[in-house]
């Protein structure tokens, strides 16, 4: 977010605004002085969050209907965000995601496709749509919430994981393209976070607070970091997980 000489208003388009991580991020960003456009499917919920953010931070906060699977609407969402940002800087925080249990996916071809469409195809569609706007704007930050599940495919979560891996690769190229325009692109890889997505999943005890992910994400965006793990120990956990030879890994049960 290397702005010009003037201090510009930062505006974040938060995609998937009802998710716990997005909500924490919105509070952190608004608390830091940014305006917000919350995008998601549950309009009533987003209206509550927008009201809350306005009262807590007295920032400008609005809501826009958004469905990741409605690809035709993506261009309109991005345009709306640019309008909302006005002369300020548009930034994107992309936090929507869909993670059914692997057994459910194994039982339904349709579900496998939905997982890929939401977690990968929609990300590509939106960010490609936004690319020219960022290139014209010549500043700003794009932050996408990926997952450590994309670092290594596991039998328990490989369709979701592969979509997140694809996002990570997409982000590498996108980062290079945006670099030339002065826009930073950050992939955030949360570990196990205590949200509705992981609540009550077999084998998941607790998880880190979404506030930690939010804080780390905002700090990473400000510094223009490329890839972060959050909370930080996951960087080392995943380094170990990635180092295990495939021959061994396929036998492991996790």
């Amino acid at each position: 977010m290397s702005g010009g000489e003037l201090k510009m208003t930062e505006t974040w388009l938060v995609l998937g605004g009802s998710s716990a991580i997005a909500r924490s991020f919105a509070r952190a960003a608004a608390g830091d002085g940014a305006d917000l456009l919350l995008a998601g499917r549950d309009r009533d919920d987003l209206d509550l969050s927008a009201a809350d953010l306005r009262i807590r931070t007295q920032r400008r906060v609005e809501v826009v209907d958004f469905d990741a699977l409605d690809f035709d609407s993506h261009a309109g969402t991005i345009r709306r965000a640019k309008e909302f940002a006005g002369d300020g800087t548009l930034n994107i925080f992309l936090a929507f995601g869909f993670m059914p249990l692997q057994e459910e996916i194994n039982a339904s071809r349709d579900l496998a496709r939905r997982v890929v469409d939401i977690n990968y195809t929609a990300v590509v569609s939106l960010l490609q749509e936004a690319a020219p706007i960022f290139e014209a704007q010549k500043r700003g930050a794009v932050v996408v919430v990926g997952s450590v599940a994309g670092d290594r495919g596991r039998p328990k979560n490989y369709v979701y994981g592969s979509a997140k891996a694809a996002v990570a690769a997409f982000m590498q190229g996108y980062r290079g393209r945006m670099f030339r325009a002065g826009v930073t692109v950050t992939t955030v890889k949360p570990g196990i976070i205590d949200t509705a997505m992981t609540w009550g999943l077999p084998g998941v005890k607790g998880g880190a607070s979404p506030d930690i992910v939010a804080k780390d994400s905002l700090a990473a965006a400000k510094k223009g970091r490329e890839v972060i793990y959050t909370p930080w120990p996951w960087r080392y956990i995943m380094a170990i997980v990635k180092a295990i030879p495939e021959r061994v890994f396929k036998r492991l049960d996790f």
């Binding site: 919920d45 969050s49 509705a196």
Partner: protein
């Protein structure tokens, strides 16, 4: 909605109960709460001490993620929030704008849902009443799956049943209540030593008319010459218009072994607490939140009491009976030498609006007892004394009250049960406390 198996307990950590637990993040998810396996109970921050927010064989619905402030009118102080908003949220957002929660429990972690369900009181009860007195309406998810907006005008009986109703009428989704003006984020706190019970009664008789906030701390271990000695604290808003630095709370890192807390260590602590206030008294300016929520600087402090957990006893005695009743209670408590820290003595101004609201005009005494052999017997004796003096025990703290005691202390229990018969005839909402006390929809009682 996914249900996660959790071991839930009250703040006293006596006997955790394994429960399937949902934690909706959106109001729409909360609609699914009634699909819970078995009976269910709402839960806020789990800052009630006993068994009112657990249910053996039932499910829990946590409201902590429904934490949004929905509207605020700076002209009237009227605010609408989701049930999971905490007193810490209110203080952080509204104190800088000159507003405070109308009644604050001693911990800012408590939620608005919990504050309504227990009709909580603060150190300003004489002047401002309890939380329920400031509630205008709430949205309640009832056993039939409907959500109703309940006000004293739309449904006075359901309103009165839910204020102080310990979650038994349904799940409060959001509420509208009025904040009160707060002239500063600082208060001037006046502290002085009080020698004995007579001293306390005389001091309160005066300050409950003159002071905005007042609270007494009694050395619950003091015997003989030290019997019922303590510190009287009063506070008024300061002139200071600055903003205090936020506190950095520290956690109690692990559960202490039970021997750490013994009559000797506790006596030393109480001695220190008494001695730190000079004989001539003192006046200090303190951040308002530190005055309201002194224990919040120590996170997870229940761990001090070790693995067996602890009970909190809190009763209120009507004004006329208070001198004799408090004397009897304190005699019983100090004779037990049960390693209790300070007992809190406050005055309450008058009755709450709920059928099961705790407050009545009188004196309220609260203190912790580490759970040891004999503690339950002591609590039974304290219940007896409370009853003999026309008092009642606070349900938000209780884990041991008897059925007969409950009926005698809460004469409007049958009005309450008549409402349950209308809104929850099958008894979908229940807690270990309601089962223990035999609180049931009237039809199920028959």
């Amino acid at each position: 909605m996914r249900w996660k198996q959790l071991d839930l307990a009250g703040w006293g950590r006596v006997a955790p109960v394994p429960m399937p637990t949902a934690r909706p993040e959106r109001q729409a998810e909360l609609d699914g709460a009634l699909r819970a396996p078995g009976a269910l109970i709402a839960r806020g921050a789990g800052r009630s001490y006993g068994d009112c927010a657990v249910l053996t064989g039932g499910s829990a619905v946590l409201n902590e993620r429904l934490d949004r402030i929905v509207s605020f009118n700076a002209a009237t102080g009227e605010v609408v929030t989701e049930a999971g908003v905490t007193f810490a949220d209110l203080a952080a957002v509204f104190l800088p704008r000159g507003f405070m929660a109308p009644a604050s429990p001693g911990t800012a972690f408590a939620t608005i849902g919990g504050a309504i369900a227990a009709d909580v009181h603060g150190k300003n009860h004489d002047r401002h009443g309890s939380f329920g007195d400031h509630v205008r309406w709430f949205d309640l998810l009832t056993a039939d799956g409907q959500t109703r907006r309940v006000s004293p005008f739309s449904d006075p009986e359901l309103f009165a049943a839910t204020i102080g109703g310990m979650g038994l009428t349904g799940i409060i989704r959001r509420a509208c209540f009025t904040l009160l003006p707060a002239a500063s984020q600082y208060v001037r706190v006046h502290e002085r030593r009080v020698r004995d019970l007579e001293g306390f009664l005389a001091a309160f008789a005066e300050v409950r008319r003159t002071a905005t906030f007042s609270v007494g701390w009694i050395d619950a271990m003091g015997r003989g010459f030290d019997f019922a000695r303590g510190i009287m604290e009063t506070a008024e808003f300061a002139e200071n218009l600055g903003t205090p630095k936020p506190r950095r709370p520290r956690p109690v890192p692990f559960t202490l072994p039970t021997f750490a807390l013994n009559p000797l260590t506790v006596r030393l602590f109480n001695e220190f607490y008494y001695g730190r206030v000079p004989r001539s008294g003192r006046e200090r300016e303190r951040p308002f939140v530190e005055f309201l929520y002194p224990l919040d600087s120590l996170l997870d402090w229940y761990r001090i009491y070790g693995k067996p957990g602890f009970y909190q006893f809190q009763c209120v005695l009507p004004d006329a009976e208070a001198p004799k009743g408090l004397q009897r209670l304190l005699e019983e408590i100090t004779a037990a030498q049960g390693a209790s820290f300070l007992a809190v003595l406050k005055t309450l101004g008058g009755p709450g609006r709920g059928h099961l609201s705790f407050p009545i005009s009188g004196y309220t005494l609260a203190l912790d007892f580490p759970r040891r052999s004999g503690t339950e017997d002591l609590l039974a004796r304290l219940e007896r004394i409370t009853l003999d003096h026309g008092g009642r025990i606070y349900l938000a703290k209780d884990q041991t009250l008897s059925r007969a005691g409950f009926r005698a202390m809460y004469p409007r229990a049958s009005d309450f049960e008549a409402v349950l018969a209308r809104v929850d005839p099958q008894g979908r909402f229940a807690s270990d406390q309601s089962r223990r006390l035999g609180i049931l929809p009237q039809d199920l009682r028959a």
